[in-house]
Symmetry: C2
Subunit: 244 residues, 2 copies
């Protein structure tokens, strides 16, 4: 019996997200089907975190227990053979029996791409959030620093979520521009449901001038979803890395 | 009567190339249909050059003559309303009556992206040429300089092409790496059918070690398609800019 850790890249465009659910095309299900085809075992994989419909994975992590004799590093080839071309195992290895991809995660890094230009880009349409309005980058850059540290992020959680402890620590956040693309990166110990997308939507509202950077302090204090900005769409979001 | 110049971006993945043809989904046809819907005129647009199935456009150019009263710069909005999301007019303006997007082109710039890693990228699958082999970047970089200047490129033209004058001038070529991506850029007065893709395929064959950089001299001299390398696939190619 061994425990296999997978690192997974996927284009989330054509999926109803990570988590298996009836009557929907999901990334988890595709990987479980591919594993069944590759090793003849019907197993359930444990993902480090769910991603929503349209969200992409660059370094999603999952693990599963198997009796297969395939060496850990070879699983990626065996499974990739049966995966559609918008999902790939980019790394596989055997880990300790006790390893659990969700409980053992110490942190996650997300990336979010905004495309800011007068006309929407056909090439980037599924891979960026298209914002046509002029954005004040300096204000957005100032605002992002207010998220760093340990805060109660209740105002940045989708309403209706059933989480009691809404305190999270953000270790790092950066904002950079490359021509018409704004790249936001954020690294923290954990994220509430839709948290990155609400943070980005709020940054965009700051860039447009609807909210001022200093308002973030009061939004955090309010613990009220309605005081934060809009939820940015899924297509700009990438789960970059899960740290253990 | 006015002459309108369009600059066009498109994701070529789901099209049978630029040029209108029976029973095929083409970019030219989509734009002509959108113009018909936007201004109620059935017109034919003149493209600066064809792109093959799967090849992308970042700065394709086309022009057309119209009686419409819409100001030149507003055409982009009127046409984009009727285009699918993988094609967009990013610029439109009125130009001199004599302007012809193909005959007046002084040069074209292409970009080609190679993804070089152990596993194919799901996110970049339609936007890069996936090469799993270890590539000698220094040799590829040395080789690219042999293409610069005025040469007979007959060896770098798809066999079966019916072009008599196969002499072209390459003004500029560059090769850069960003993590696992190799970016090749080439600018010249004109390109033969499949010329960029055969140049890139030859550079990859040099990177693998099948051909040496200095061989380019003899391949050019041979005027024989069989002496050059393979034809790189369309998905890595972008028509970046047409210069007038």
């Amino acid at each position: 019996m061994k425990n296999i850790k997978l690192t997974i890249e996927y284009d989330g465009t054509n999926y109803s997200g990570w988590q298996r659910q009836p009557n929907a095309n999901t990334i988890q299900e595709e990987i479980e089907k591919a594993i069944a085809n590759a090793i003849g075992e019907k197993i359930t994989i444990i993902g480090a975190g769910r991603t929503d419909s349209g969200v992409h994975g660059k370094g999603q992590v999952a693990n599963f227990i198997t009796d297969s004799s395939i060496p850990g590093t070879k699983f990626k080839y065996a499974i990739n053979r049966y995966l559609p071309e918008d999902i790939a195992i980019i790394e596989s290895k055997e880990v300790e029996k006790s390893f659990h991809s969700r409980y053992d995660a110490l942190g996650k890094k997300y990336k979010y791409l905004i495309y800011n230009a007068p006309i929407k880009s056909p090439l980037l349409r599924n891979y960026t959030y298209y914002v046509p309005y002029k954005l004040d980058f300096e204000k957005m850059n100032e605002a992002k620093d207010y998220f760093i540290g340990k805060h109660d992020f209740a105002a940045f959680m989708a309403s209706g979520s059933n989480i009691e402890d809404t305190v999270r620590s953000i270790y790092y956040a950066s904002l950079n521009t490359y021509n018409n693309i704004i790249v936001f990166e954020i690294y923290g110990d954990g994220f509430l449901y839709n948290m990155v997308r609400i943070i980005v939507g709020t940054l965009v509202d700051i860039g447009i001038g609807k909210i001022s950077p200093h308002d973030i302090i009061n939004i955090l204090k309010s613990r009220d979803r309605k005081s934060a900005g809009h939820t940015a769409p899924p297509e700009g979001l990438y789960l970059e890395k899960v740290c253990y």
